[in-house]
């Protein structure tokens, strides 16, 4: 019984933890501009993250080694350093966006400028990392993030023409004033938002923090194979809401207020309250995850003591990295750069850093030294290779498309 509870809790946490500012903004933006004509990318992205997160979970459960250990071991110090710099910068950019997101949620609820909320949000992120136990932090914000289910409720309440939505979803091509270059650009953005590298850093390091062993494989797999797809459905619901409400009205999404507006339209003030709490939980939880991931990647590359399972003073360099990152995020936001814009770019840069992150995972998930008999079967490897090819294509196409479309305009 206790076990079932644990598994359920893990799944719920995974659903809530899946959606972050990147998913919120990108899905809403794409829904408003392309309807559901890009929905397939979310599905492709979710399958990809399931595939690779499962490999990470297996490697952690069988060997106790988190992802960045593998990256340095298999790619060596030089290529490893390149991967570190790329994925660290993307994660830092995401942290900036998440802290900005928390502040924007407060701005919407209070009408007080987000720049005033931001230092408070940053401090709260640090305090929680400093003082709160890992499992608690994961559960509280994961469960609160579940409130974003309100997007799915709102979609039903808006009473869309389901046939029309299905029609859009099954026709993968640009519409209206969009052309193939913006279509491809936002496909990469959605892909990057779903497969963003910090998810595997956090997932695998979290496995070490919670001392996973072979027995926890079931938990790890159920989190991945049930939790993530349900999180993906949440993403699609967000896209559906803006597709129904904004696409016909010619409204483009550029602010967090617009992201939450469909819920208010469908469910009124209560809906708005729920969605704002959900957005706060999702972005705050993701801010914790990205701040921790900044520390995890550097500490694991250098071999420093890391993790929240020891007292802060025993992992001093790990904590210093996180403090520096949070301060950097705060300073960046103080230049009054638009957090939503930072989000839009962060997901595209994420797509660029993906191949080097995922290659070592695929290699090690086949290595009996790490996973014993639990190596990848031929089917997993075939999928793994297809996704690796997709990641390489997305990574190479990201910058040229960013230039051609002027950042998706």
């Amino acid at each position: 019984m206790k076990k079932v509870l644990g598994v359920t809790l893990g799944i719920l946490t995974a659903i809530g933890g899946f959606v972050d500012i990147g998913d919120l903004v990108t899905n809403a933006l794409v829904g408003a501009r392309f309807g559901l004509h890009l929905a397939w990318v979310v599905i492709v992205g979710v399958i990809g993250i399931c595939l690779y997160a499962e490999m990470c979970g297996r490697v952690v459960a069988m060997s106790g080694r988190p992802v960045f250990d593998l990256i340095r071991e298999r790619l060596g110090p030089r290529t490893g350093l390149l991967t570190l710099v790329a994925s660290f910068l993307v994660t830092l950019l995401t942290l900036i966006a998440e802290i900005g997101g928390v502040a924007l949620a407060f701005e919407l609820a209070s009408g007080v400028n987000y720049l005033l909320w931001m230092p408070l949000a940053a401090f709260a992120v640090w305090l929680v990392i400093w003082r709160v136990k890992f499992s608690r932090l994961e559960q509280v914000f994961g469960l609160m993030g579940l409130l974003l289910v309100v997007f799915a409720v709102a979609l039903f309440k808006l009473g869309p023409d389901w046939g029309e939505l299905l029609h859009q979803a099954t026709r993968p091509h640009p519409i209206g004033h969009e052309d193939w270059s913006t279509y491809a650009y936002f496909a990469i953005a959605l892909f990057g938002a779903a497969m963003t590298p910090y998810e595997v850093f956090f997932f695998s390091s979290g496995g070490v923090e919670e001392k996973w062993t072979r027995r926890d494989l079931v938990t790890a797999r159920s989190n991945v194979f049930v939790g993530f797809p349900l999180g993906g459905i949440l993403s699609l619901a967000i896209m559906g809401c803006t597709a129904v409400l904004f696409l016909p009205a010619g409204i483009q999404v550029g602010t967090l207020g617009q992201v939450t507006l469909p819920v208010a339209v469908a469910l009124g003030k209560i809906g708005l309250a729920i969605v704002l709490i959900g957005v706060f939980a999702a972005t705050f939880g993701a801010a914790l995850e990205t701040a921790l991931s900044c520390g995890y990647t550097i500490a694991q590359y250098r071999g420093w003591q890391w993790g929240k399972l020891v007292r802060p003073r025993e992992a001093s360099r790990f904590h210093v990295v996180m403090i520096v990152c949070i301060v950097l995020a705060m300073l960046t936001l103080l230049t009054s750069v638009d957090p939503v814009l930072v989000t839009e770019y962060s997901v595209v840069f994420a797509a660029m850093a993906l191949p080097l992150t995922y290659l070592p995972i695929l290699i090690v998930a086949n290595d009996p030294d790490y996973v014993g008999k639990e190596t990848n079967g031929p089917l997993r490897n075939a999928f793994g290779l297809v996704y690796l090819a997709l990641l390489v294509v997305a990574s190479l196409a990201a910058i040229p498309l960013m230039i051609i479309t002027k950042g998706g305009q």
Partner: protein
């Protein structure tokens, strides 16, 4: 001789790839109009939802504040254009006026919401709808 010069000029113009100045302006107008239309419709939606008591005044105020900034950006990016033919000058003036109207309406709503004056905000609804229609029409001028 003259003909050769004309042909050369035309070739350069075509090769340079930016099309005629008229076309360039039309495309800039369409783009600015589309993003302004988006902000105007957002404002309209916010006011309607406020009237239906689906939004808090604070949140609606924030949404409209952001929309106002968006319209300003669209208007100022278009006003930086350089019309060089009589046709473009006419278009330029017309689009600038439509963008100005949009800006006025959105600003009026922002001020009304700032004063907690829902009635004044609702009065702008017809203007917002009209403005969105006009902008959408300009938005169809080019890709």
């Amino acid at each position: 001789m003259r003909r050769a010069v004309a042909i050369t000029l035309l070739t350069i113009l075509i090769l340079s790839g930016c099309g005629s100045p008229d076309q360039k302006l039309r495309s800039a107008a369409a783009q600015s109009a589309r993003s302004a239309a988006s902000e105007v419709s957002t404002t309209r939606l916010a006011v309607e939802q406020l009237r239906a008591q689906h939004l808090w005044t604070r949140s609606a105020g924030q949404i409209v504040k952001d929309a106002e900034k968006g319209v300003e950006t669209a208007a100022s990016s278009f006003s930086a254009q350089q019309p060089s033919t009589p046709t473009s000058t006419r278009l330029y003036e017309q689009v600038t006026k439509t963008l100005d109207d949009a800006q006025t309406a959105v600003t009026a709503v922002r001020i009304a919401l700032g004063n907690d004056d829902l009635a004044a905000a609702e009065q702008q609804l017809p203007a917002l709808r009209q403005s969105a229609t006009d902008l959408s029409r300009i938005g169809e001028l080019a890709q």
